[in-house]
């Protein structure tokens, strides 16, 4: 939230639901300003966003409750602007300014 505002940063909203917010300082909604390009200079995609969140936003040490084998762990749905990311090209989707990315952990209680 207090990320440096470099030239080329884009503003997005990242939300967590289904208990994932507990891994992110118990905040459901994070307004982030993130670099528009990844470390290789390529446009920022969702795959890189996941790594970015893990390294820069997640304070909790239990990374494996969010990421497994370099991608979001099974049981987490990634939703880009209210649609399943599989409708949008999954990790390759290039993030646009103003995008809303929602991570939902599936629940099992009943």
């Amino acid at each position: 939230m207090s990320e440096p505002k470099d030239v080329g940063d884009i503003g997005i909203t990242v939300e967590f639901s289904g208990g994932l917010e507990m891994l992110f300082s118990n905040e459901r909604k994070h307004k982030l300003s993130i670099p528009a390009k990844d470390s290789t200079g390529a446009p920022l995609n969702v795959g890189y966003l996941v790594t970015y969140l893990c390294e820069n936003v997640m304070k909790d040490a239990r990374k494996d409750l969010f990421v497994l084998d370099g991608t979001v762990r099974p049981g987490i749905l990634v939703l880009i602007n209210e649609a399943d990311w599989e409708l949008e090209g999954e990790e390759t989707y290039e993030i646009q300014p103003g995008d809303n990315i929602l991570f939902v952990s599936t629940l099992h209680g009943g």
Binding site: R73, P74, G75, E82, D84, V104, G109, G110
Partner: protein, 520 residues
Amino acid sequence: MAPLPVVELLQHQIASCEAQLRDLRQQLAEAQHLQHIRTQEQDRLRHTSTSGDPLTHDMTYGIHDEFRSEVFAALSQGEDVPLRAATKWPLEKNEYKRYGRQLIMPEIGLQGQLRLKNSSVLIIGVGGLGCPAAAYLVGAGVGTVGLVDGDVVEESNLHRQILHSTGKVGMTKVDSAKIFLSSLNPNVKIATHTARLSPESAITTLQPYDLVLDCTDTPASRYLISDTCVLLGKPLVSASALRTDGQLMVLNNPPLPAGDIRGGPCYRCVFPKPPPPESVVSCGDGGILGPVVGLMGVLQALEAIKVITKGPHTSDSSSPDPPSLLIFSAYASPMFRAIRLRSRRQKCAACSAQATVTAKALNSGSLDYVQFCGSISPVDMLGPNERISVDNYAKIRMEVNPFTGMEPSKDSHILIDVREKVQFELCNLEGSVNIPFSGVSSTPHSTSNDNESEPSWISDLRKHPDKPIFVVCRLGNDSQLSVRKLKEHNLDFGGNRFIGDIKGGLRAWRENIEPDFPEY
């Protein structure tokens, strides 16, 4: 003096029997009331069919003798059917009244009510979701409602599982639910299956029903139910809830055969791989707010009514709503949001042309859902010299320390309770310090000797290097993991200070030492 266990036990039994008796009396009153109404109705029918009937008058005084026998013959043909009204009107008389408020809605109407009456719904799991779902479906007049559950009613169920009541603690959940539902609406047939659904029993259990509600609480049962619904071509309404959140999906709708991409996605399409078992939290561990899970169950009933009253899917008619996931968060704003889901997955193991989940594999028991989803075995990671029984710990608190010979004192050691703060505040052992497990486990392993950046709970524990540390939790799992963590932070000073866990946690403490310690 504390009451003897047997006295307490008897008091408890009497209280339980009294509650059950109250419950039975209420049910009896309801049943008598129902019987009374029925008797009145029959009396009224008999009455109108004799003296007050204008036809009787005509037959006696107004009809010419020659016609009388013919008229009698015509009337007598109808006498095989006890109530003539039943043949003339598609619903029973009482049904028009009972369902009147939904019958006059264009979404239901007579056609919708008949579809409900001719339908059968299987509710798997008669807990926080299944109870409200069953109540509304039975109330709405679904013809047959099946209930599957192998559990018995527990006191900790009652804040959310609205079909069960205090007097029914110990009764099977399906029996308890059947009593409630039969008295709610005697028109509905209630079928009970008092067992947990297994791969071997799944197909025969689900087969007779038109639609299935997944009201269970484990990943394994969710995959099993979804796979069976795909194999049998049944739409599935799936919901779940935890803490303040709920989720709802209508799956396999329309329920077209595997390989037909126009069919709705199944649970495996949405979640091809099960979540790691350590990420799965139950209501018993995470907690659940009654109205949250209740709401999700009510929504399941609503979706079921929508699917049933819409009638069978035909390819040329308008297709159902696109698949979506409804997310509810009681403390978010807005509370509801709907997310568009993918369609059927091309390589889905259950609903694609390459499906590997088959009826044969299911029936033979070769599909192991529990293994597929994995499980966490009870933690057993500490050596015997890192653990203490509740009996020995009680001696340290109350008697001379068996290890050091020291007099008991609260200050002789540090007792860390690693339950979350809200649980610690419910009840705790005098003198214990609360360091929640979430904080312990989320503190990164320090790589340097940079003690300034470490959290205060670690530096506080460094201040008393001479005092042994005992770690306790609810059941004795987190306490072991915490002992490991404390040692990773070198709080045992290279083995010079004892750090160990109390075996079996506060549950063992209550069972063996202090029966009054609250159980929650």
